[in-house]
Symmetry: C2
Subunit: 429 residues, 2 copies
């Protein structure tokens, strides 16, 4: 086999045997081919000593605007209106292919270094993001859903052209999946929805969008359509496709029932929702209803990192407080959201998200010898409540080790950073 982790603690995410200690996990090609307390007889080309280390399934960041690394800390502590219309949109108008490509590379490197093996991205210049993802070896759902503040929408729209380009270039790609969608129900219109549904059906595309992020989002949909965004989405026919809906903060019981009925996945962004004062998504209610909950960082301008360990911890802590019950949701729930459920949302739940033979090898190895991870009464608790992205020292995507010994083989990180800083100074200053 290609790679063997030996004497390692494996968090399998298999409820029947969630944690295996002093284990051997072997990878060949893109798959996990061995998991046992015993060593395989077959030799391995590369053996990694796992003493004091923990393997987890690669984390799934189901809602990003990855190239917003260029805008990290660009505008903080402002009202949403001031932040978005006064700062972020004007800055984004100055961004071009070159800056988006390099900023996306930086974001993807940050994600991989913190154990994330997949992103689901929405941004313009999306072919540049797909190119960066493909080169760096991260799984990526990529799309540029139309952002229509008026009723104008044409087949010459940038998002339409980019979508067609992505479909052409990445059909059946093992890492890159083109997506379609709308920026949100409230700022799109029925003409856009028809195009989305038609393209999604014709090209078998997953749908992504922002949903009920803020109360004004909901109110505008109610005013315009007399329906909550989720009801409008259902009535538009868009739920016929696999949908990953970001935020989902303000939901009625009917909304939640619809989400369950149609198999919609929620991409919850707890840090971003606090930072922009949007609210707290009702994850305990969603879990109770059986909705597929996943986790995401949103763009770093409203976070300001891509570290999913923060989202895992905060997502369950907020629910404990929201429900007044410290036993509401658990570390296991958080890790399920970020691994198993994230892969379900991305349409690969049967083959990714658990560390078991036959599954594709998307994984992260954490160093558990640090002071803040000792003693270790409960390894799952430590992953969620005590670890950070900085504890990751190896990341593998589909059997390929992209990050090892806290380094990216073949990548000059200082040069990557220098290049982004140069472009930011040139275009955003």
């Amino acid at each position: 086999m290609d790679t063997l982790f030996q004497n390692i603690t494996v968090i399998t995410m298999d409820p029947a045997c969630p944690v295996m200690e002093h284990a051997y996990l072997g990878v060949h090609g893109e798959k996990i081919v061995w998991l046992s307390k015993d060593a395989p007889e077959e030799p391995s080309a590369h053996v990694i000593d796992g003493t004091g280390k923990v393997l987890i399934p690669g984390l799934q960041n189901t809602h990003t605007h990855i190239a917003m690394t260029a805008l990290r800390g660009y505008a903080d502590d402002q009202t949403l209106t001031e932040w978005l219309f006064g700062n972020i949109l004007p800055a984004e108008a100055k961004m071009n292919n070159d800056l988006v490509y390099h900023a996306a590379r930086l974001g993807i490197l940050e994600a991989l270094a913190s154990g994330t093996t997949s992103i689901c991205d929405m941004y313009f210049h999306s072919p540049e993001i797909a190119r960066a993802a493909k080169e760096l070896g991260i799984r990526a759902h990529v799309g540029n859903p139309p952002f229509e503040l008026g009723d104008g929408f044409s087949m010459e729209d940038r998002s339409v052209l980019e979508t067609e380009e992505l479909i052409r270039d990445y059909a059946d790609d093992p890492l890159i999946t083109p997506t379609i969608g709308v920026h949100a129900i409230h700022n799109s219109n029925p003409a856009v929805w028809r195009w989305v549904n038609d393209m999604a059906e014709r090209h078998d595309l997953p749908v992504v969008l922002h949903l009920s992020e803020t109360m004004p989002d909901v109110e505008s949909s109610l005013a315009k359509y007399g329906k909550t965004p989720t009801v409008a989405l259902r009535d538009s026919g868009m739920l016929a496709r696999p949908v990953t809906a970001a935020h989902c903060v303000h939901l009625t019981d009917e909304d939640i029932a619809i989400m369950k009925e149609y198999g919609l996945s929620v991409a919850s962004c707890p840090v971003s929702n606090l930072k922009l004062a949007s609210g707290i998504a009702p994850l305990a209610r969603l879990k109770e209803a059986g909705v597929n909950i996943t986790l995401a960082t949103d763009g770093v301008a409203s976070n300001n990192t891509l570290d999913l360990f923060e989202e895992m911890k905060l997502s369950v802590l907020l629910q404990k407080n929201l429900t007044g019950d410290a036993s509401a949701l658990s570390a296991w729930d958080a890790l399920t959201f970020a691994t198993v459920n994230g892969n379900i949302a991305m349409g690969r739940g049967e083959r990714c998200g658990r560390l078991l033979p036959g599954y594709e090898a998307d994984l992260a190895m954490l160093d558990f010898t640090a002071p803040h991870l000792n003693p270790c009464h409960n390894v799952i608790s430590h992953v969620v409540y005590a670890a950070h992205g900085s504890d990751v020292e190896l990341t593998m995507v589909r059997g390929r080790t992209v990050y090892e010994n806290r380094r990216f083989p073949g990548i000059d990180m200082a040069e990557e950073i220098r290049r982004v800083n140069e472009l930011v100074a040139k275009y955003l200053a």
Copy 2:
């Protein structure tokens, strides 16, 4: 001079000039003696190249139970009652001097490694905690306030004997400050309060306690005394001393007015308060009223780390959401809570908490060359919203470098961890 940081970015916390880039900061003895864009003429014994680095004042963790590192992840996702009475207290009953000493060492090393230069601790076996702090060179307020669930209290109480021992051994110590207090108003009684007030007055001791952490705390005080805990505290006379009160989640406007009037400092523990479903402290209201707000991790059993960067970020994010205003509180506020205000609470606001000549040299140096800290539009935003404790690579307390190049000189970390794990297995298994 002893140490010179050159070409470094310094966050001074001086509102007149909060950030100085490409600066020289010199330390001699326990003090900062040079801060300028120009190099000092005087040579330095030790020169540190600060290119790509950022200096911040050392972080102040104003409420810890530092030896609870032994119980990290021991019991999570339980109701407060189940957690405390079913797990934590029974485990603590098995802890002895040896385990507390070594667990305290581990916690202090974790704190120092994440840029914390001071703790304010409450725990039993407190002389062991003072010994660990003194040996490792962290500033520590140390005490074992009586925890009276009944009315029993005598001068043979363990907490009384420990307090007397701390006063004897650490009078005028530059690092260790004995404290006095009660565990909380609602679980102590007037006999204890009289002893606390007498001892505090006689030995000039600061007072520490838990205050209004949960609604049941408040309700029990109302039932027992007909007063909120803050009013009972004021009426007991205890506010005549400098008081640092942990949590302060459930407060009336009168409580807040009393806090301001008497100069009480709040040690807010946002992570712990979410994890135990206690609530969210009203920091925006407290700041509006002019109360001195500081930050703390609480014990790691309810956190589960000692990383104050998490508390800085979360404290302001929660207020944005609580007030519905994304501009409520700022990164600057968070850093002020953790540095300037923490030192005010600990009674050294005039000489610690800012990086300016004449101030004592308590500081942490962060590596800003990592992907998640680039590009850098705003260094203060990055410290609060994007950095973690793991970005700290040097920590200095009172002019002594205790952590450098991510290593503790003279400390065998693997042996420290092995020792704690051995004692935990022996006493808590």
